[in-house]
C-alpha cells in the first residue's frame, strides 16, 4: 500500500536472504557448528600445518626429550641400589649379572615388566616381583626354584624342581648325591610321584640307584646289582611298600633276583637270574636224590 521509493525511507524489512541467514544462525546445531566445531577444526588444522615441517618437528622432539629428561632426573625419581630377597648367593649373583641397567637410573627408564621377564627367564627362578621403594631402592623379591631331583637325559644331568622345570645343569651326579636320580623320557612330568616312591623306598636308600620312567607311564626302581622293581602305573607307592615288606620278611632283594615285577599288584612276580635257576634246580635234584644230574 505504502510504496517505499528509492529516495524515501529505506525499506525496514529484511531481505529474504538476510531473514533466512538469521534463521539459520538461530538454529542450535548450526550455532554449535560455528561456535565449537569450526574453531576446534581451525586450531587443529593450524597446529597440523605448523608441525608439518621436518626441522620444526626435530626441535620439538628435542625439546620434549629435554623436558622429559629434566623431570626424570630429579632426585625424587632416581633409583640408586638394588636389593634382592629370597635368592641364594649364587642366584643373586646371577641376577646381578643379567640386570640390564646401571645405577643410578631414573624410574622413567626402568621397564619393570621387561626386567621381570628377564629374571623369570632364569632357570632357578620360579617368579619374581619388582617394586620401587619410596626411597631409592629397587626391590626384587625372588621366588627360587628348589631342586628336588636329578634328571638324566642322554649324557646330560640336570636338577629339576617338583614341576619338572630345570633348575640347574649338573656336570656330575655326585654334585647332588642327596637327590634321587630320574631317567627316561617324560620323567619330568611325574616328579611328585617319583619323589613319593623314593620316599617309600627309604629303607633301600643305600641300594637305590634311581628311578626309570618307562613308556612315559610308569616307574621302575633300579637297585644296584642290576636289580629292578617294576612298579604299576597306579598306586606305585603301595606296590613299593609291598616290596619293602617282602624284603623285610624274606630278604627278598638280597637274593639273586633280576627283577620284582609289581606291574600287576595282585600277582607279584619274581624274575630270577640264570645262575639262581641252575642253583634251584640243583637243590631240587638233591632233595629228590638225583645227585648226578
Amino acid at each position: 500500500m505504502r510504496k517505499m521509493t528509492a529516495e524515501g525511507r529505506r525499506d525496514p524489512a529484511p531481505s529474504l536472504i538476510a531473514y533466512r541467514m538469521q534463521r539459520l544462525w538461530l538454529t542450535p546445531s548450526f550455532q554449535f557448528a560455528i561456535k565449537a566445531v569450526l574453531p576446534a577444526a581451525a586450531v587443529a588444522l593450524l597446529a597440523n600445518w605448523y608441525i608439518d615441517g621436518e626441522a620444526i618437528r626435530r626441535t620439538l622432539n628435542a625439546d620434549i626429550k629435554d623436558i622429559r629428561r629434566f623431570v626424570a632426573e630429579r632426585p625424587e625419581f632416581m633409583v640408586r641400589s638394588l636389593s634382592i630377597e629370597g635368592a641364594g648367593g649364587q642366584l643373586e649373583g646371577a641376577i646381578r649379572d643379567i640386570f640390564p641397567i646401571e645405577f643410578p637410573a631414573s624410574t622413567f627408564d626402568l621397564e619393570l615388566d621387561r626386567i621381570q621377564s628377564l629374571i623369570e627367564d632364569l632357570d632357578s627362578v620360579a617368579s619374581a616381583e619388582l617394586y620401587i621403594h619410596p626411597g631409592d631402592v629397587l626391590h626384587i623379591a625372588v621366588n627360587e626354584r628348589i631342586p628336588v631331583a636329578v634328571w638324566r637325559v642322554g649324557d646330560a644331568l640336570m636338577a629339576i624342581d617338583d614341576e619338572g622345570s630345570r633348575v640347574a645343569a649338573l656336570s656330575r651326579r655326585a654334585e647332588r648325591a642327596d637327590l634321587p636320580l630320574l631317567v627316561g623320557e617324560g620323567a619330568d612330568t611325574a616328579v611328585p610321584e617319583a619323589l613319593a616312591i623314593a620316599a617309600a623306598a627309604e629303607p633301600l636308600k643305600a641300594r637305590l640307584r634311581g628311578l626309570v620312567r618307562v613308556g612315559q607311564r610308569r616307574w621302575d626302581a633300579v637297585l644296584d646289582r642290576d636289580q629292578r622293581i617294576m612298579l604299576p602305573e597306579t598306586d606305585a607307592v603301595t606296590a613299593m611298600e609291598i616290596v619293602i615288606a617282602f624284603d623285610h620278611a624274606q630278604n627278598l632283594l638280597s637274593r639273586d633276583l633280576g627283577a620284582v615285577d609289581m606291574r600287576n599288584p595282585r600277582r607279584p612276580t619274581v624274575r630270577m637270574r640264570a645262575g639262581a635257576v641252575d642253583e634251584l634246580r640243583r637243590i631240587r635234584a638233591l632233595e629228590i636224590g638225583g645227585a648226578d644230574l
Partner: protein
C-alpha cells in the same frame, strides 16, 4: 466437513509438536501493525501448595521471550491485499522477535480480523444408543448439527460446542457419563471467507514457517481482555483495530457470537489527513498525541501545529485548534460505536444476564473514549487491558496487543473445538472394517 476435520487436526497436531519443541511464534496480522511474540513453553506450571492455584491463574505454562511490532504493509480491512508487502512486514516482525528471543520458531499461530466473520448457531439432536452419554455420543451429536450451505462453503475458524442438553435439562457443559435419552447440542461456528485465510497461510509459509493454528482476532481479544466473571455472565469484547472493529460476545465461558465492523482507527487518520490537508503520517501523529473525542472550553485555545517539515512556509505555519481536531475525530468514533451497537442489537445482546462491554484495541486508546462510549453502548463499558503474561515487555502490554496476548492464551490452553472430539463414524467412510468392528462392539 471431512476436509475441515483433517486440516484442523493437522494444525492441532502441529501445535502440540511445536509446544513440545518449546517455541511458537504468535503473529497478529493487523491493518495498522504486525506484531510477533515468541512463546517459550517450559513444562508444567507450578501450583501453589496452599490453594492449588498457580500464581498466574493458569497462564504461567509459557513465557514471552521475544516481542516485536512493525508497521503493517499491504493489509486492508484486516485482509492481505499485497502479498509481497505483507510478507515483508511479517518478516520484519518475526526477525526482530527472533533476535530478541535468540531462538528461531518453526511454527506460527496467527490471527487476523478481516474476511467478514460470520457466526452460526447450530443445533443437533440424537437419541442415545445407551442410557449413558459416551464420548461417541458426543461425536454423533456434533455431527448431527446441520451446517448451513453458506458456512459449508466458507472456511471455519472456530466450531465450539457451547451447550449440551440432555432430555429436559439444558446448560450442561460436559454431559459425559450422565443418564438420559436424547442428547442435544448447541454449537457456535465462526466462518470466514476462504480466500483471505489461504492468503495468510501462504504468506506465513513464504516466511519459512508452518502455520499451526489460526484464530479470529475477535475471539483472541475476548480471551485476553474479559475477566472470568464477564466471560461467565455474558460480555462483549470490542477490539477497535486499525482497519476493522471486531466484536465477540462471550457467555458461559464460550464465545457465542462474533462479528466485525469494517471501520477502524485508520479511518480517523484518513479523515484528519483529508480534513486538514496534511500527510497521513502527520495526521497519525497528531491523532496519537493530541486526539480526543470530548471537547472542553480549553481545547479552543490549544493550538496544534500542522508543520511536517515540508519547507513550504504556507503549509508549515498552519495551526488548528484541538476542538477542530476533535470535531473531525468524534463523528468517526461515534460511527464505529453506533455500528457496534447495531451489531450487538442484531445479536440480541440485551438478552444476556450481564451486558458488560469491554473496549480494547489500539483505537480504544483515544482520550475521552470512556466518556463517549457509555452514551452509545450503555453504562457497563470499560476500557480493557489484556491479561498480564510472563515476560511480555511493557511496550507490548497495552490494549493494542490484546489479540496477540489472547493468541498466547489460545496456544497454551486451547478450548475444546469440534474437531477435538472423536470424529464420528459417519465421517469415516473410508474404513469399513473399523466401522464393522465398532458396530459389533456397540450392539453386543
Amino acid at each position: 466437513m471431512r476436509q475441515l476435520y483433517e486440516s484442523q487436526r493437522v494444525m492441532r497436531n502441529m501445535r502440540r509438536s511445536a509446544m513440545q519443541r518449546g517455541v511458537v511464534a504468535i503473529i497478529d496480522v493487523g491493518t495498522f501493525k504486525v506484531a510477533c511474540l515468541m512463546l517459550r513453553f517450559d513444562g508444567r506450571e507450578r501450583r501453589s501448595e496452599v490453594d492449588g492455584v498457580s500464581s498466574m491463574a493458569g497462564q504461567s505454562a509459557f513465557r514471552v521471550v521475544g516481542a516485536a511490532c512493525t508497521q503493517s504493509r499491504g493489509v486492508r480491512l484486516g485482509e492481505i491485499e499485497t502479498m509481497n508487502e505483507t510478507e515483508r512486514a511479517i518478516r520484519t516482525a518475526v526477525q526482530s522477535a527472533q533476535k530478541m528471543a535468540r531462538v528461531r520458531a518453526d511454527h506460527a499461530i496467527a490471527c487476523f480480523s478481516g474476511a467478514t466473520p460470520r457466526s452460526f448457531g447450530l443445533t443437533g439432536t440424537v437419541n442415545l444408543t445407551d442410557i449413558e452419554v459416551t464420548e461417541h455420543d458426543l461425536a454423533r451429536v456434533l455431527a448431527a448439527c446441520e451446517v448451513p450451505d453458506e458456512a459449508a462453503e466458507a472456511e471455519v475458524l472456530h466450531a465450539q460446542p457451547v451447550n449440551f442438553a440432555l432430555d429436559y435439562r439444558t446448560g450442561l457443559s460436559d454431559p459425559r457419563g450422565q443418564m438420559g435419552k436424547r442428547l442435544a447440542c448447541d454449537m457456535h461456528l465462526l466462518a470466514v471467507d476462504p480466500d483471505p485465510v489461504r492468503n495468510l497461510v501462504h504468506c506465513i509459509k513464504r516466511c519459512d514457517m508452518e502455520l499451526s493454528g489460526i484464530a479470529s482476532s475477535a475471539y483472541a481479544s475476548g480471551l485476553s481482555c474479559l475477566v472470568e466473571d464477564e466471560r461467565e455472565l455474558g460480555a462483549a469484547c470490542v477490539d477497535m483495530g486499525g482497519g476493522v472493529t471486531s466484536i465477540s460476545v462471550f457467555m458461559k465461558k464460550h464465545m457465542i457470537y462474533a462479528d466485525s465492523v469494517p471501520i477502524g482507527g485508520d479511518y480517523v487518520s484518513q479523515d484528519i489527513a483529508m480534513g486538514l490537508k496534511i500527510p497521513a503520517t502527520t495526521a497519525e501523529r497528531i491523532k496519537t498525541f493530541s486526539g480526543g473525542v470530548v471537547a472542553i472550553g480549553k481545547d479552543d485555545r490549544q493550538m496544534i501545529s500542522l508543520a511536517d517539515g515540508s519547507g513550504d512556509r504556507e503549509k508549515d505555519d498552519r495551526v488548528v485548534s484541538r476542538s477542530e481536531l476533535i470535531g473531525i475525530i468524534r463523528p468517526r468514533i461515534e460511527e464505529i460505536l453506533e455500528e457496534v451497537r447495531k451489531r450487538l442489537d442484531i445479536a440480541g445482546f440485551e438478552q444476556l444476564p450481564s451486558q458488560q462491554i469491554v473496549l480494547t484495541g489500539g483505537a480504544s486508546l483515544i482520550t475521552g473514549l470512556q466518556d463517549l462510549a457509555p452514551r452509545i453502548l450503555g453504562n457497563q463499558v470499560r476500557i480493557g487491558m489484556p491479561l498480564r503474561v510472563r515476560g511480555l515487555p511493557q511496550a507490548a502490554s497495552g490494549p493494542a496487543f490484546s489479540s496477540s496476548v489472547g493468541l498466547c492464551l489460545f496456544a497454551a490452553h486451547p478450548q475444546d473445538e469440534w474437531w477435538d472430539f472423536q470424529s464420528p463414524t459417519e465421517l469415516r467412510a473410508r474404513k469399513p472394517l473399523s466401522r464393522a468392528v465398532r458396530w459389533v462392539r456397540e450392539n453386543w
